[in-house]
């Protein structure tokens, strides 16, 4: 691999040993993939930081790096953690018990990241943060978190591969990643067009569309998608589903993606409204539920306000609703609509920041959950939770009156 003189110096330890080790990892991964060189990044987003996911060994690795002087070279944000840091007991109403040991382990991880200079945003939606929206189209970044990667490439016109685990942190520490995959123009040009025949898709239908495309797409290029997604949450859920159900890093969505699509894609695949309905039917809520889950990826203030409008008139929900969102969106909600949080809590809705039901120790096998997120369905099902899928308006109705 070609390295600049500065990169050689870093590797030789002239900027500290932690940075040298971080760059060694980036270089080795790049060499394994056949990358010719490295590329500077404008931003990094680190996933996999819940104590439940990386344990004591992960905490030790991060502490070790921090103690050896590792410091991020670019603005760096991080994913959600195992609980709401202001009130770890908040999700107890959803059956989640956070032990003192868990809090200790999680705090070790957060302290280490803070020492390294990361901005503890604790959300899977870094694409909504102003500093990220300001990054010029075409810039390279190093992000973990599959839904965010898809949003970065497909909506913001940024360039990132799927840098999960410690990779995004290593990139953050060195300000560079390997020049491969999504950083290259030619890897971003679609070959296959998926044309959704009719209808405007809500977030649940957008999710199953993501599942269908992710599981049937056969080439390395991003799928070109011609579909009408109803709103921002449908777009977000489509991308999250694509990210969860396969290994794609990008979709070229007509009318959304900044880059120009090819005029004549090599292949055209039709998806009918019926294909989507049949798929959604498999996931329809049919039995009594334990939890209704909203906020995977993290909800925006507007989504919570919409939930409140849908629940208007109800005094209490019959089924516990859990909403998860970033602390930034929580603050925006408090500022724009101060009574909404109190009203929803009074009805039995739990609103938690910094976390979600996937990265918290949620979900005894057999727990029955309904959600508007295909991604949540995908991951919670793996731990034996019985998950059904429906759009927000149906979930609100079900939570009040039953299935």
């Amino acid at each position: 691999m070609y390295l600049t003189r500065e990169e050689e110096k870093i590797l030789a330890g002239e900027m500290g040993e932690a940075r040298a080790e971080a760059l060694k990892i980036i270089v080795k991964v790049g060499e394994a993939l056949g990358a010719e060189r490295l590329v500077p990044i404008a931003h990094a987003h680190v996933s996999g930081i819940s104590y439940g996911t990386i344990g004591d060994h992960g905490a030790s690795l991060l502490e070790d790096l921090a103690s050896r002087g590792a410091r991020v070279a670019v603005p760096t944000t991080v994913n959600p953690v195992g609980y709401d840091t202001e009130d770890p007991s908040l999700l107890e109403k959803a059956g989640v018990r956070i032990t003192p040991e868990f809090v200790r382990g999680q705090s070790r991880i957060l302290s280490a990241l803070r020492r390294m200079g990361a901005n503890l945003t604790l959300t899977c939606t870094p694409y909504y943060i102003p500093e990220v929206r300001g990054i010029p189209v075409g810039s390279s970044v190093a992000w973990g978190e599959s839904n965010a990667i898809l949003y970065a490439n497909s909506v913001l016109g940024l360039r990132t591969n799927r840098e999960g685990g410690p990779l995004a942190l290593m990139a953050a520490l060195t300000g560079r990643t390997y020049y491969w995959g999504m950083h290259l123009d030619q890897e971003r040009v679609p070959q296959t067009l998926y044309h959704v025949e009719e209808g405007i898709l809500d977030e649940a239908r957008a999710g199953v569309l993501g599942e269908i495309i992710a599981t049937s797409h056969r080439n390395r290029k991003p799928p070109l998608v011609d579909a009408r997604l109803r709103d921002e949450i449908a777009l977000r859920e489509f991308l999250a589903a694509l990210g969860a159900a396969g290994s794609l890093a990008m979709a070229h969505i007509q009318g959304v993606t900044p880059e120009k699509p090819p005029e004549k894609p090599e292949e055209r695949i039709m998806i009918s409204a019926q294909d989507l309905e049949e798929r959604l039917d498999k996931y329809r809520p049919t039995e009594t539920l334990d939890v209704v889950f909203i906020g995977c990826p993290h909800a925006k203030a507007g989504d919570v306000e919409r939930l409140a409008r849908l629940l208007q008139g109800a005094s209490r929900v019959r089924t516990r609703i859990v909403v998860t969102l970033s602390r930034r969106e929580y603050s925006r909600l408090l500022a724009s609509n101060p009574r909404v949080i109190g009203e929803l809590s009074g009805m039995g809705v739990v609103i938690a920041r910094d976390t979600c039901l996937i990265v918290s120790p949620f979900g005894k096998p057999g727990t029955r959950v309904a959600t508007n997120s295909y991604k949540a369905l995908f991951y919670l099902s793996k731990r034996g939770v019985k998950v059904s899928l429906a759009p927000l308006e149906d979930l609100a109705r079900i939570a009040v009156s039953g299935v």
Binding site: G48, T53, I54, G58, G144, R162
Partner: protein, 135 residues
Amino acid sequence: MKGRVLVEGNAAGEAVVVEALSFYGEVDPKTGALNDGRSIAGKVLVIGRPRGSTVGSYTIYGLRYYGKAPRAIIVESDADPILVAGAVLAGIPLVDRVAGALSVISDGDPVEVLPGGIVRVYKRSSSSPLVRGRI
């Protein structure tokens, strides 16, 4: 056999062979045990192909942290970023693109990883207890 060196280092040990392996979810870092009960601690792990969650890099580091790391990892196909990052962090010798590894190596075979990506397997023949051969 010969492969591509990704993380340098010589090693020798008994082989544990797995067709496809996701470290996260399929290896317990605290014990070095696979889901089927076999231990990879102190062994030469031979993988057909890697797969699974990126958290796997932390799991590989965990094996070193808890003292249960394999002595080397050999991959028949291409190593993925998860495996490379984990092996570098944990300091475990890693060789990939070892064509034919799963056809030749069986559980329990003594295996050596040598400089230049050379992988030497010692096969037991039926007539003598140990026959040395380089494939």
